[in-house]
Symmetry: C2
Subunit: 361 residues, 2 copies
Amino acid sequence: MRVRIKGETKDFKTVWMEERIVHMIDQRLLPHRFEIIQLHDQRETAEAIRNMAVRGAGAIGVTAAYGIAQAALQAPTGSLEAFKAYVNEAAKLLKATRPTAVNLFHAVDRCLRVLEACETVEEGRERIVREAERIAEEDLEASRKIGEYGNALIRDGDGILTHCNAGALAFLDYGTALSPIRFAHRAGKRIRVFVDETRPRCQGARLTAWELLQEGIDHVVIVDNAAGYYMSRGEIQLVIVGADRIASNGDTANKIGTYEKAVLAKENGIPFYVAAPAMTFDLKARSGGDIPIEERGEEEVQWVWGVDEKGERRRVRITPENSPARNPAFDVTPAKYITAFITEKGIIYPPYPENIKKAFG
Amino acid sequence: MRVRIKGETKDFKTVWMEERIVHMIDQRLLPHRFEIIQLHDQRETAEAIRNMAVRGAGAIGVTAAYGIAQAALQAPTGSLEAFKAYVNEAAKLLKATRPTAVNLFHAVDRCLRVLEACETVEEGRERIVREAERIAEEDLEASRKIGEYGNALIRDGDGILTHCNAGALAFLDYGTALSPIRFAHRAGKRIRVFVDETRPRCQGARLTAWELLQEGIDHVVIVDNAAGYYMSRGEIQLVIVGADRIASNGDTANKIGTYEKAVLAKENGIPFYVAAPAMTFDLKARSGGDIPIEERGEEEVQWVWGVDEKGERRRVRITPENSPARNPAFDVTPAKYITAFITEKGIIYPPYPENIKKAFG
């Protein structure tokens, strides 16, 4: 992704590995400060996942794979058994960081399967590092393909609504929902993005707005309450969101509020697209009812994080001291509200149970 | 309304007049501090309207009427002409405070019509004070009636969604949307209120939550994104909101986000009620298209007000420094999404053009 630093534009990935060092954009500081942190071994890398310096499905998966690669490179040069034990220990450490991050488990397990098949320490090192790089390349390639396919759905002059951050920061680059938007912009289409702030954690206002600003894409931040208003006034021609998990019938779990925007899009005759890579489709879940919804702590609703007038990170409480809050992190959008899925295998239209199975079964 | 102060429960109105002094709850400090301010003459009262110590349609109207009464009581005891000139000067001052507040103009003009008909200073004083008290009583009576009629729509065990603050604080007492909820609670019905925080100004999280907390009504604050989620899970049985202006066909302008909740209620088969007194109906507006929508400054979206860990009032910025925002203050909910209007004249069901005219024409 392009990042503007002191008037210059540079290209960054969310996470990358150079020699044995993992580098990443510290997302906790965005949008108020841009900083790259360096993680020297698997322990520091695991800690960066745990403390959310990195977040987003794809980015977490790749980071965990890099953590395994760091372990392989730094393991003692003794017996094959000692080598495998050391890498397995690192895998345990990495898996314990974000227990619900499916991508993290997939990525670590892929590396461990390679490890199992190795017959020498040398081979193990080489193949695990290669597997981690392959996971990174696949992530990048999926996002790029989603951008290319999705770009075809965007016309010159369109207003596009997006919710939360399914951007480059959630993957290695491009993103899912934001990838078609980047490709459309780079192709010279004049577009305007309406960015839902996405309470409670404001990933839209903080991260999506920041990404669009870096890329010079015309955008406005709106409160989540205003999306329907702009739809009803004809200022929004399509909606693109990401997904956390998609059931085999097309029901889609994504950030809280996605369901509201989908219903409003349908009511206003506006296409509603979900952009997501293959790994987001959970063919074992038959419908949205099989997807558990995490309820997070009430303090995310009661307190809002930002920077004060002096640029210092700070939170303020908006509710009365004794008023309870409830904080569902996700909701499920029934498949009937979704016009199509934008994936690296192409665009999937209804009927979903058949066409999702055809693409990924 | 009931207010809990150091373990005791006391009854307050939003605004009241004792001798020549106007007293009001300072709403700028809520929910973090409860304070009554005293305004000694019409100048101080006008300033309290201007700086938003008092807000809300009904409350502003009554406050302005009290300001005229203060002027009448404090006018020089000279000629009738000098008396009228003095009171007219006060009217000008009060009208200049919030140029779009329709209630303020109505209330001031009612007092001025009384003034015009008076033949002595004595008579003017007495009749203007009486007119101001009558405006206050009518406000109170309308809210109470709305509560009684609306209570009949609430069943024991209901979950009720409300948006923004159409509570006691917006009128003298009871409120509009919150009045049926108070009456249901006082009648012993077990209810739970879902309070939309109502970005950008968070009147739900700040004021509605505070009112419900004082009254001991079971409630939870949710982000605006979560209302649809709770509807789809069957936890919300009805929605009650207030209104800023209602066209003769039933189209309703209210706080931004109201339209979204109305569409979601319809989609989920949940009744959607608008509670509002007669004066909110603008029979000259034929439809929502005749109601202008105010766009406010972008800083209300970019910055969030609250109190920090030490309880000090402060704001934090959530967006990147150069990302623009848009901030429509209201939206229009088309009449077809509204199950009924709860008014002091009873409950008005469709067909609206006919039944609204019948009630208020």
